[in-house]
Symmetry: C2
Subunit: 210 residues, 2 copies
């Protein structure tokens, strides 16, 4: 095993280093994470090479092994980051405005933005642990969405609600991928404003506000 990624004891958790230190483990880690997220979301796990990621980040290949143990470890880290961000976004949103939040997620700045976080959830990895993390993120998100429309865990007659929430989530992810990865026109160049209406219709049809 590789040793724990050394959590840098640089005390600057809050204030920003106006210029990066020549050697900064935390920043290097983050550079790799950002580059990997974009690559994985756009090209998929297997099609992305560690050398691609390292080059994008402007960093040596070996540092991927150092900081994330392996390519799979890096993918899992991306998945966790995407899950956290997704949960944070929808968690802060009032239940009845979730569609808009999702629309903003999907529309947000193509490759660089949050849209790629959603697309990431659809990219296969072949790794069992990564698959489990992804499933967990999806389950949590769909339950959050279903709960906003009256679903409660264990109530058998609200089973349909969870199913419908998962379909809404699937729709959002599908749109994100068709936009960011496949670049289907006119969907790909539609603005947030173009998307939010249809998306609201979609979510409301699947999950009527109660």
């Amino acid at each position: 095993m590789t040793a724990e990624p050394p959590v840098p004891t640089t005390g600057d958790t809050a204030d920003e280093p106006a210029q990066r230190r020549r050697r900064d483990a935390a920043e290097t880690r983050q550079l790799l994470l950002d580059a990997a997220r974009q690559r994985f979301a756009r090209d998929g796990y297997a099609a992305t090479t560690v050398r691609d990621i390292a080059d994008d980040a402007g960093v040596n290949v070996a540092l991927i092994s150092r900081y994330f143990t392996s390519k799979e470890g890096l993918f899992e880290a991306c998945l966790r980051a995407a899950g956290d961000e997704l949960g944070r976004t929808t968690g802060q949103t009032p239940a009845d405005r979730v569609p808009e939040a999702i629309a903003r997620h999907i529309a947000g700045l193509g490759a660089a933005g949050l849209s790629s976080q959603l697309a990431l959830l659809l990219r296969s990895s072949g790794d069992a642990q990564a698959d489990e993390i992804r499933r967990g993120v999806l389950v949590r998100s769909s339950e959050q969405l279903a709960a906003a429309r009256g679903w409660r865990p264990g109530e058998p007659d609200s089973h349909q609600l969870l199913l419908r929430a998962q379909m809404a989530l699937a729709a959002g992810i599908g749109v994100a991928v068709l936009r960011s990865s496949i670049r289907l026109e006119p969907l790909s160049s539609a603005t947030e404003h173009d998307l939010v209406g249809p998306l609201r219709d979609l979510v409301d049809a699947l999950l009527p506000p109660h």
Copy 2:
């Protein structure tokens, strides 16, 4: 491109073992096509190796090069087959019953069935020509769907209709992938009957029958 393998006049249109001839180019080709479609749809293009496909088909690896020139050629053949099948299905369907047709497509027999054809459309390949074929299939399908709801090419005010049709298609594909590849529960084990209701709601909300 590749020379057509002479189609032997084995009259058994229904795919029956019926004891296969020991050497049958057409059948071997089809075995490879079927195996590839499943693999590509479930694992993605890059994660699938030609040896996997050949083993699944019970056939020698070199025959992929013989019949499809290359791995990319095989992927393109899968894409074309999926496009044809999708077009045939929705083409034969009365406009107002397209949602049910899609639902049947999505629900149909998990990995082995037509569902994987839809999932295939979302799997990246990195090959420019394959991407073009995929985009073509998607554009044609979405236009077909939009036309069923009153869209006519070139009418600027029906632009929204095409966008909405693409979102409906994206939703269907997203559901297919979450079912067949990610196996998200309870979506994954939902039956056609479970899916058709929500899917009709979804399509009708995006594309109101006019």
